[in-house]
């Protein structure tokens, strides 16, 4: 259970949100509304105030690296610091199958420079899964993917949900939250609100 109370940075908030284990929550909203900043603040990557806790354990009570291994944030544009893809992964059992499952079985022997945006996006997600996080904060995880890859990634996310992990997804695709049975929220000018239902909007 991830609880967020009065989370605030100079640009967003205060935001309150509770995420139950095994649940999926989707955030939509115009660009510049602060969706990515919100995810960054949860991951403690920008200065912020407020209380964030995982299963009752306050974020500040643990070192930031430990927190980020449990609450993993995957930005929309991933960073790669070495030339070879294999250098970004811890080679352990199960990694091969995971790569297969998103259609990138051979990727470990490649160089980062040959990756397409969509390939980077999928590899960045798998990279974040290596620390076995309880909560995943995903910033537009399928924005650069072709329909087949979207299906593969969504199947992976479904498996993660079934394992009891918590997902918080920023998505511009209105159909995606429905496929996950996600609770839909809308962000505007740094504040979070329940999304208007379709009927009310029309």
């Amino acid at each position: 259970m991830l609880t967020i109370r009065a989370l605030k940075t100079p640009l967003i908030g205060p935001i309150d949100l509770t995420l139950a284990p095994g649940s999926c929550t989707a955030i939509s909203g115009p660009s510049g509304a602060g969706k990515s900043l919100f995810l960054r603040a949860i991951a403690d990557l920008d200065e912020n105030s407020g209380n964030v806790a995982l299963n009752g354990n306050a974020r500040e009570a643990m070192p930031a690296p430990s927190w980020r291994r449990k609450v993993a944030y995957v930005p929309a544009d991933s960073g790669w610091w070495a030339e070879r893809i294999a250098d970004h992964f811890e080679i352990k059992s199960g990694l091969g199958e995971q790569l297969e499952s998103v259609g990138l079985g051979a990727a470990l022997s490649w160089d980062v420079s040959r990756l397409s945006t969509g390939e980077r996006q999928r590899l960045a997600l798998l990279r974040a899964l290596q620390s076995d996080p309880e909560v995943l904060l995903l910033d537009e995880p399928t924005s650069a993917l072709d329909p087949v890859s979207v299906e593969l990634v969504e199947a992976l996310l479904q498996r993660l949900l079934a394992e009891g992990r918590t997902l918080l997804i920023v998505s511009h695709d209105p159909a995606q939250p429905q496929r996950f049975g996600a609770k839909c929220l809308r962000m505007e000018r740094g504040l979070l609100a329940a999304a208007h239902s379709r009927e009310a909007a029309s």
Binding site: A43, D44, L45, D46, E47, P63, A64, P65, S66, R68, R69, A72, Y73, V74, P75, D77, S78, G79, W80, W81, A124, R127, A128, Q130, S131
Partner: protein, 268 residues
Amino acid sequence: MSGYLALTYWDVVAASVFLVLNAVFSILLDLGLVRTLVVSALRMSVQLLLVGLVLKAIFFAGSVLWTLLAACVMMAFAGREIWARQDRRLTGLWGPGLGAAVMLVAGTLVTIYALAGLIRPDPVWLPQYALPLFGMVLGNTMTGVSLGLDTLHTALARGKREVEAQLLLGRSYWDATRPFSRQALRTGFTPIINAMAATGVVSLPGMMTGQILSGVDPREAVKYQLLIMFLLGGSTGLGVIGATFASLWRLTDARHRLRLDRLSGGSS
């Protein structure tokens, strides 16, 4: 004194004849260099003549206070130069303060060690030894520190995504910035390493040349030059390491965040 031949001011003026010739060429070929050439030559002349007068006065006064004051002025100029040579700078007092503080520690430490422990003039602060030595130490440390900081700040600003990707995977700021701090240290060390490698083969170092011209046995001059080069290398190293890690510490925080908000400027 057998070896030393004093120059008259006319000798100095006559030495500039080739420089004047360059200016004439520049006018003939329309290179547009005359102005810069003349301004920098005049500026150099004024600066050096003034320094000559000031040094003469300080040597004559033989006062520890005036010597210290001169050292402080040199330090302030060097600190300002470090600040000016960075494309991106730390905000607030850290910007000018870090370079000056690092040089105060590294430069003073090395200079005092050399004066009190090795050269041992009497008195130990004798301006004829202290000021030229301090000047050489400062000049080299300044070059190293400004290169190191400039490299670190530019690399971090451009590599924000790479650093944050590692932080997000649960690495410490120390590990995530390691390639950049290494790069900064290497760049900061490069000039002094190059100087050590080339010294004596291509050109004779200025100080050694000066001693030889004033009649000192070349073997003695070499000993002095070696001593100076070791001191310069030591001081530059201390300064570069201190400045790089202090700046890295300032640009991260206890929650392992990259704090580029504490960095300003940047023309690219």
